[in-house]
């Protein structure tokens, strides 16, 4: 992981030293290799093998040549969603040599961050605590994010859950209205069935099974539509933000949760609408 300060310098250099870009250069085999982000390569029309000149000065003074060794896709970062990922990656010694402050005696020894992969990842918190105690002045953090109430993802999750809940309430009202109309349509049918000997529970069971089948079919159709829309939404946002970040994902867990909510809701709406009908007497059902 490269030092953030050096990243910033390199990024600033790339962004501001417009005059520092030079692509039609003779081969410079000694030029240190760098990697460019896809976005930067596209923005500046750069290709692998080309030589670019970078400077830490916004005026472009003292540019140094670097060879584009490759183009990479930056790891999607939701916290940097609105930032254009114009980045370059260096070998650490090259970056230090390029960007170190000559007046700072510790410049060659300074990095911003060190990433550590543990043999036992579960011990991350304990490792962080011990290391912080042994090396004063540093901050050691586990990458395991504790999802507190103010975590942005927790907040967004709560927001989307609230939207979904309101949508369910609205559609439940419509569903009930439709079921009421539907049960009115079948009033005479229900009356005839009662007349020929079908009991209320028997008719109710038929309504229940019918409602269950319709609710299941509707829920599955809803999940299929969600899967189709997922692709459209992801493509739209990925195009808009020029990122590989996945914005919408319908997981099996989410699909099961949706079906688990919508099926009972559909069945309940049918039952409630039909119950008011079946409570009436046979003659009332037959308009007599």
């Amino acid at each position: 992981m490269l030092p953030h300060r050096a990243w910033g310098i390199a990024l600033a250099a790339i962004l501001t030293a417009g005059a520092g870009w030079s692509v039609a250069e003779p081969a410079q085999p000694n030029a240190p290799p760098i990697l460019l982000s896809r976005q930067l390569a596209e923005a500046r029309d750069l290709r692998v093998g080309e030589i670019v000149h970078l400077s830490t000065d916004s005026t472009g003074e003292n540019p140094r040549p670097f060879r584009v060794a490759g183009v990479y896709e930056p790891v999607p970062d939701p916290f940097r969603l609105t930032t254009r990922r114009l980045e370059a990656r260096f070998h650490l010694p090259d970056l230090i040599e390029f960007s170190a402050d000559p007046h700072d005696p510790l410049a060659a020894e300074t990095v911003t961050r060190i990433n550590v992969a543990l043999e036992q990842p579960d011990a991350a918190r304990e490792f962080a605590r011990q290391l912080e105690g042994r090396v004063p002045g540093i901050a050691v953090r586990s990458t395991d994010r504790s999802r507190t109430g103010s975590d942005p993802f927790v907040v967004l999750n709560r927001f989307h859950t609230a939207i979904a809940a309101v949508t369910v309430i609205g559609s439940a009202a419509f569903l009930l209205a439709l079921m009421v109309m539907r049960s009115e349509e079948r009033r005479e049918t229900a009356g005839i069935l009662r007349l020929i000997g079908f009991s209320r529970p028997r008719i109710l069971l038929e309504i229940l099974v019918e409602g269950l089948l319709v609710a299941l079919a509707g829920s599955v159709a809803g999940v299929v539509i969600a899967l189709a829309v997922e692709g459209l939404l992801n493509r739209f946002f990925q195009w808009h933000y020029d990122t590989a970040l996945v914005f919408v994902r319908v997981t099996p867990g989410i699909a099961v949760k949706c079906i688990a909510i919508s099926v009972p809701l559909g069945v309940l709406a049918g039952l409630v609408a039909s119950w008011t009908l079946l409570r009436r007497g046979i003659m009332s059902l037959l308009h007599r």
């Binding site: 300060r5 600033a12 969603l81 609105t82 930032t83 700072d104 510790l106 300074t110 911003t112 002045g137 109430g149 103010s150 975590d151 942005p152 907040v155 709560r158 927001f159 609230a162 939207i163 309101v166 949508t167 309430i169 609205g170 559609s171 439940a172 009202a173 419509f174 009930l176 209205a177 439709l178 009421v180 109309m181 539907r182 009115e184 349509e185 939404l233 739209f236 946002f237 808009h240």
Partner: protein
């Protein structure tokens, strides 16, 4: 009987269906209204916050958001040049950094802001007094916000030992004793955020930065005669290396960058909600018409013209959508308060910033969109009713 009265009777004849339909439209309408409020809520709210501070132009080293970009190296010289501008009524210089105090064994970090100038409404003194001029013979004065005061148990008159942590160098500076002179509330204070303000010399004393002249940001209040655009032009003339922008330009930039996610989300949710509303209203009206085909055929047989039937159905749709839409406004308002409270839990959001902000344009757009949805939703049932064969329908439905 006029079409309106006819439609009214059709609805009230089946109160359960009407009430449920109106309730459903009200809930969906509330959601639609909220998405319209969200689409520009941040922009409207942030603009109000910016204008509430009392400065209308900002000057930074680059076009990054203030506090995230590089410093202005020769800050003192730039400050003098800006204060000499005829177009500038007031100039405030700010330098952002970090500091920490200890609460027993624990380290308590906070923002440290060094200022030079009249802050206007950048913060409000709740307790104590304003920041006095720097006195080299006395401990530097400091203003703290409520979060710092409650965390460290401080009041005006207390001493706050602070160590600067203002740049990326590893330093071992001794603590500097600051005199707490007041407790303040910042306009842009984040929930739970700990912030302190001192004079620039006080900041330098705490942080001992390599460049003592550097500044992060200048805020300028334009004169009434000049206005912010004139100030920007004047600043670009005297300090062409720096970046000056008005409040509106700042808001426009954030709308494209930091605020764009919520704009996009609101656009997507508005589209989905509108489609949802259209689908539900169309289904409700279509099922309703299908149930009354016999009745419609009978009316046609009695002499009601197609236009009259169409008018009846359109009025019925208008009554349903109108009543639901009207209920949707206050419901949407309440829902917006709840959703706003959820989103404001995000870290770093200023207390005064809202995601859902009222604008008349949102209500107008809401009415137009819902009316359009109602009109389009009525198209198919109206088509059904207008095209049905009278005799065949009567034979099938009535006889």
């Amino acid at each position: 009987m006029r079409p309106f009265s006819f439609a009214w009777r059709s609805l009230t004849r089946q109160p359960a269906r009407a009430v449920l339909g109106i309730a459903g439209i009200a809930v969906v309408g509330a959601l639609l209204f909220d998405m319209l409020l969200l689409s520009r809520g941040l922009v409207v709210s942030f603009r109000d916050l910016l204008e509430g501070v009392g400065f209308d132009v900002r000057v930074t080293a680059d076009q990054f958001v203030p506090s995230r970009g590089p410093m202005i190296s020769d800050g003192t010289a730039v400050l003098n040049r800006l204060r000499a501008l005829d177009e500038a009524e007031e100039v405030l210089a700010l330098r952002f950094g970090r500091a920490w105090a200890t609460d027993g064994e624990r380290r308590v970090s906070m923002d440290l802001i060094g200022v030079d100038g009249n802050p206007r409404k950048t913060w409000t003194v709740i307790e104590g007094s304003r920041l006095p001029a720097y006195d080299p013979a006395a401990p530097p004065a400091i203003l703290i916000n409520r979060a710092v005061a409650s965390r460290l148990g401080l009041s005006p008159g207390d001493t706050l030992p602070l160590r600067g942590d203002c740049d990326s160098r590893v330093t071992a500076l001794p603590p500097v004793d600051f005199q707490v002179v007041g407790i303040i509330a910042f306009q842009f204070e984040a929930r739970g955020g700990r912030s302190t303000v001192t004079t620039l010399p006080g900041y330098v004393k705490a942080c001992d930065p390599p460049n003592r002249e550097a500044m992060t940001l200048f805020m300028i209040a334009s004169t009434v005669e000049a206005g912010p655009d004139s100030v920007v032009r004047a600043v670009e003339h005297v300090v062409p290396d720096l970046h000056a922008f008005t409040n509106q330009e700042f808001v426009d930039r954030l709308q494209v960058t930091d605020f764009s996610y919520f704009r996009q989300i609101s656009f997507v949710l508005t589209t989905i909600t509108l489609f949802f509303a259209f689908l539900l209203i169309a289904t409700l009206l279509t099922v309703s018409v299908n149930r009354r085909l016999g009745e419609i055929a009978a009316l046609r047989a009695l002499g009601f013209r197609k236009k009259r039937i169409v008018a009846d159905l359109l009025w019925e749709s208008a009554l349903l959508v109108g009543a639901g839409g009207l209920l949707g406004l206050p419901l949407g308002g309440l829902l917006a308060l709840y959703l706003d409270e959820i989103l404001r839990q995000m870290p770093g959001i200023p207390i005064g910033l809202h995601f859902f902000a009222w604008e008349p344009r949102a209500a107008i757009t809401y009415v137009l969109l819902l009316a359009l949805a109602g009109l389009l939703a009525a198209a198919y049932p109206v088509y059904l009713a207008a095209r049905l064969p009278i005799a065949a329908t009567m034979r099938r439905e009535i006889v």
